[in-house]
Each structure stands twice: as C-alpha cells, then as structure tokens.
Symmetry: none
C-alpha cells in the first residue's frame, strides 16, 4: 500500500527505491492492461527505467506479479489477523475485515484491480494459493468463533460460509474494478452496509427462526 501517486523518476533513487518504482509501476500497468496485456517494456517505461533492469530485481514477469501479490496480501492478512485477534465479538470482527478490504479499494484501486482480476482466480502462480487460503481461514475462524460464542448459527458450514462472505466482498470489488458499480465515498459506505446486512442478517424480513 505504498504511495504510488508520486511517480516522478528520481534520478538519485537508491537501489531499493528502484525496486519499488518497478513494483508500483507494475501495479499501475497491470491494472490498466491486465497481466497478459502488459509487456515488460511497458512496466519499465512506466517506472522510468530500462527494461533490462527489471531482471536485476526480479527473475521474470511472473515474479513481478507474484511479488505484488505477496507483499500486499501479506499486509492485508496481517491486518485481518489483528482484527481476528482482538476481543471484539465475531460480528464486529467480520465488519472489520470487510472494512479493511473495501477501504483498500478507495486507497489503492489499481492494487485491488490487480488482486481481483489477475491473482484472484487465474492459476498464474502456485505459491499464492496457500496465502489466499489464509484469508479464507481467518474469516472461517471468525465465523467458528461466532458460532462458539453463540452469536452465529451453528447449523452452517463455517468453511463454505466463509467462501460466501468472501465472494460477496470480492464481487463488490469486481463491480468497481470493472466499472459496473458506481464508485465514490458514499457508494463504498453503502456497499459496506449492504454487504454486512446481507451476510449478517440475511435478506429475509421476518427472520427465519426455527
């Protein structure tokens, strides 16, 4: 979640800064053209370096995408973990996780675009699979905790439910990414509310009490 808005080429950028420059450029370019539609040269150009330099820091174009994913996803995972480890009730935790992801969209739509479109379901890289799984696992844990605490229904398969929750979340992001859902501060707030309402209380008016 580095500030990518400052893209000017600093002639005196240190080695690490060049690496960042390239990663940030990659996010913008992948977001704009997709992974397959982006050439290594495009990334280098966007970063203001020669394309050969990219291979000094990364072993391949694939590794650039993988790095983008890994570094950012791990940060998200960490924040999920903090929420999950707090002593709030399960439903609040769920809300916290939702907020983290939806608000990331506001801060860095390009990054979310890449995560959702390129990494989410393409079988590009094997390594990510585990990491993505950890995201589901956190949600699943929260749900299971909620069931244990009695705030969530126990008749639900917590694992499947975590997929449903995550899916709803990701679909909203996709809607924004693809430009099919209106974007803006208010819209994000509304989406957050709707998402939580649906997964928490369900669509049904008269609650299904059995």
């Amino acid at each position: 979640m580095t500030d990518r808005s400052i893209a000017r080429v600093d002639r005196h950028a240190s080695a690490e800064e060049k690496r960042r420059l390239i990663l940030d450029a990659a996010v913008r370019v992948f977001a704009r053209n997709g992974f397959h539609g982006s050439r290594v040269g495009d990334i280098a150009e966007e970063a203001g370096v020669a394309h050969g330099l990219l291979y000094h820091y990364f072993s391949s174009k694939d590794e650039v995408l993988e790095t983008v994913f890994r570094e950012n996803w791990s940060e998200l995972l960490q924040r999920f973990g903090q929420v999950a480890a707090s002593d709030e009730p399960a439903d609040e935790k769920l809300l916290g996780i939702v907020k983290i992801l939806l608000r990331t969209w506001r801060n860095d739509p390009d990054l979310v675009t890449v995560m959702v479109r390129e990494v989410g379901r393409s079988a590009h890289l094997a390594s990510q699979v585990d990491d993505i799984g950890k995201g589901f696992a956190v949600i699943q844990q929260v749900i299971e905790q909620g069931q244990a605490e009695g705030v969530f229904r126990e008749d639900l398969d917590a694992r499947l439910a975590s997929w449903v929750v995550y899916g709803g979340l990701e679909e909203i992001l996709t809607g924004w990414v693809m430009g099919r859902l209106p974007d803006g501060d208010e819209e994000v707030a509304r989406a957050e509310r709707t998402l939580v309402d649906v997964v928490h209380g369900g669509l049904a008016r008269t609650p299904v009490v059995s």
Copy 2:
C-alpha cells in the same frame, strides 16, 4: 450445455457439427490450460480438425471464447428468466437460480471453469458486459419483488445485494474450479444449502430484530 463427453470425430459430421466440435473442444482446452495458455492448434487437435478450419467458423481465437460465453450464458439467462417469471415466492426463486448455477457445475464443470475463470472478470470482450449485467438484473428483480411482497427486508439496496448474492455463488464455483473446495454430489448439496441459508437468513443466530 451440449453433451461434450461424446467427442469422437464423426467422419460424417455435418458442417454445423464441426462448429460444435470446435466449440466443445475449446471449452475443454480453455478449462485445462486457460485462454492464454491454450493455442489455437490445441483446440483444433482436441476437436480432431486442422487448425485452419477454426478460422472457417470463427474469425479469431477471441471470437471462439466469446461464442462459448455468449451461447451458453444466453441459455442460462433464459433459464433464470423462467424461474423469475414463475409464480413462486421470491425466496424460492432465488433458490431456483442458485440451483441452476450450482448444478451446471455438476453437469459441465469445464464450461463453468471457463465462464468463471476467463470470462467473469477478464476484460476480454466488450460484448459480454451487457449480457453479464442481465444476470445481475434478474437477481435484482427477484430481490425487489421480494421486498415488494414483504418477504425481503426493504432497507437493503437491491442492486448491491444482488452482487453480494451472485458473488457468494460465483466464489463457491471458483472454489470448485480451482480445486480448493471439495467437490461431489453431497458437497454441492451442502453448498447450496449454506449459500441459501447465508443470503436468506444471514449468519446471525438470534435474528436481528430490533
């Protein structure tokens, strides 16, 4: 949702049958290797024809994917429409739509794989956008109908809610497609139940009645 299991090359296949052969082969190959990982020659080989013939029926590899999507999605849309037009209550309709999609997975996992992985969020083709939107629209209509009938809460944004519902649905499919969720008749039934439970009744145990 043609039966693609019969792939033997019928020497006396009529022209239209060859077209089908190619489309069906494309679904299998795209499902196996992804769109970008599939060569035109792979599709032709799988179909048992020369690769040049593909260009007799389609103008490009892209058009093959587009056709796969268009022809199958329109069939799904039609079935959604039938459910939506029935005189069942809204929650039954929602269940009906969920069933259509989840069971398509069982009948034709390759097709679903392609739909979910290649078409869903890649900006491959412009034309599909409209059609995909129609899927959301049907769900949204059902939700709005439910709100009007009083079976669904009125305080929800029906449009956003339709995205959440569809997202949960698609994520389950993705889990199967990516091999990250266990598959099987029983699992599909359980997923169906969980999905409907979540979006209908919500996760909350004690219904949120204030």
Copy 3:
C-alpha cells in the same frame, strides 16, 4: 479484350462462359488489388462462382494471370503484326503501334493495369518473357525497316531504340494506371501526339543535322 462491362451472372452460362467469367473477374480484381493482394476467393466472388470452380479451369492462381496475359497479349501482337506488315512507311507504322496500345487503355483500363503492373516486370512467369520479347521485336523491325528505307537514322541501335520507344509508351500507360497522369479522351490524344513527336522528331528544336 472481351467486353467485361457485362458482369451479370448468367445462371445458364455455358462452360466456356464460366471460364470467361472467371478471367474477366480476375482482370478486374487484379487491377483493383494487384496480383498478390488478390485472393482466389476474391476472383471467384467477383465472378459469382465458388472458388473451387476456378481450379476446374485453371491449375493455379498463377495460371490465371498467365492466361490473362497470354490471351490478350497475343491479340495485341497480332494487331502489331498487321500494322508492321502493311505497306505504310515506317513512321506511320510506329504511330499505328502507339495508337493500338494507348487506345487499348481507353477501352479496357483494367486490362492494361494488369499488363503494366503485374506482368510487365514481375518475374511471375517464365512463359511470358518470350511473348513480351515479340512485342519489342516488332518495334525493332519497324525501326530497322525505317532505317533501310532511309526515313530513320542509321546510327541508332535499333534494338535499344525499340526499348526506348516502348518504355515511353509504357510509362504513359503507367501514369494513367497509377492515377498520376490526367486521363480522358483529349489527354490520350495529346499523349499520343507527344509520344510520337518525341520519339520521331526528338526534343531538339534546331534539328541535329551534321
């Protein structure tokens, strides 16, 4: 020099007529797109037949071009021969040959376009070389005859001179073909006059009498 203006597809065209249909279509298509820019299918379409039929009458695309050239060039050669065999003086004969070619342009610009652009200097076909040579030979004979009769200067290499004459002629045609010289009845007449004036009397005002 068949009348190609009547291009309607006669359903009851006899075999020979189909052949003509194809040849005439080929002239139009080659003139429009050049030999390499023309597909066999384009010719067939222009002729209103299936492209497979072309191979019933000709063994290849090359042979179509060769046939166009051969059939039409032999007709021109014949007319050259008639002029050369007449009992007019050599300078009149030269004028006659010039007239034949320039006026062919008026009657059938597509044909001349093909002759000039595709056959003239591409080494497409070996067979034509001889035939083209016969054209030069006729001009050379006329010049030699003129020299023998005393109307033409004897100090000129008749062979080279025939190439110069033919070159001037062909260049004018090329100018029309490429749209770089104005076309029209009057222009053709003026070109005829200029060409004959130059090759006959030369550019020099005060004749070079030594």
Copy 4:
C-alpha cells in the same frame, strides 16, 4: 549507394551499422527473390542477425522496403537537383540525369532492380508517390528550361515529354534487370548514347522541320 559488398558481420558493429546491414541485406534479397518472394527471415539471415532484430529497427517488412526506397531515391533526387541547378544547357542536363541513373545500374544493380521492380509501379506504399513525382518534376523543369532557352521545341507538352524520357530510361534499366538486354560497360555506354539520341534528335533522319 553504400558499399554493400562488405557484408561480413562485424561483432563490434555499432547500432547504426546493424541497421545498415539489414537494409543492405534487404536490397540483395529483394533483388534476388522479389519483395513477395522474400521472407523476413531471409533478410535477417543475409544480414547475419536474428530476424527479431529487424523489428527493432523497422516496424514491418513493408517499412524495410519503404526505407530502402526513400533513403536511396532521395539521394538520387539530390543529384538530379544538382544537375538541374547547374548552368549547363538543357540538353546537357538531360544527359547528366540519364548518366546518373544508368550508371547507378553499374554501381548497384541490386538497388536498381529493387527500385524498378518493386517500387516503381507496385502500389506498395503511398508515401513514395510524392517522391517519385519529384523525379519527373526535375526532368520536366529541364525540358521547360530548354524550351525557354530555345533549344527544345516549344510545341511539346513538357510534362508528358518528361514521362516519355523517364520511361525510355526506366525501360532500359528494366531490360538489364530482367536480363533481357545485354549488360556490360560498353552496352551501358551504347544505351546512354541511344537513349539521348532518340529523345534528343528523334528517330527521324531528315529532321522534321515544318
């Protein structure tokens, strides 16, 4: 008209030299096989580079041909211009232009072959049209100057006459290119003389004085 005979691959060739290497190789290959008969790989092989490098310097095979034409024709045009700007009489200038072209054949027959066969009349590229026109324009100017000075007949259309002159010239070159006229120092000298004699004094023995 660079010396193309030195084709050995110099490992230390600078970037610009590689570009030249490719252009020179293209001239040889186009001369040998014609534009359509030459594969990009043939050019690269002849130049001793990988075929991909060609696309580093040129955007397409077409652009290679266009560049060959443009760079060489502009040099010729410049030399024409020098002749035209000199203070010689018009007939000497005409001779000068003829010499430039005919002698280019001796120095670089491959280049002339390509110019005559591929560029002259194929409608390959739009850009050349203007440049080719400039060649005619110079000749036309010289003729008009001669008419003004009284050395050339005033009753001739200078524009058309320039086409006739250029056509005679080009046809001689074509004869050599196609191997239909004998080549050699003496032959070139004879051609030069014949060409000038014809366009200057005409074929007629007793000059046409009216």
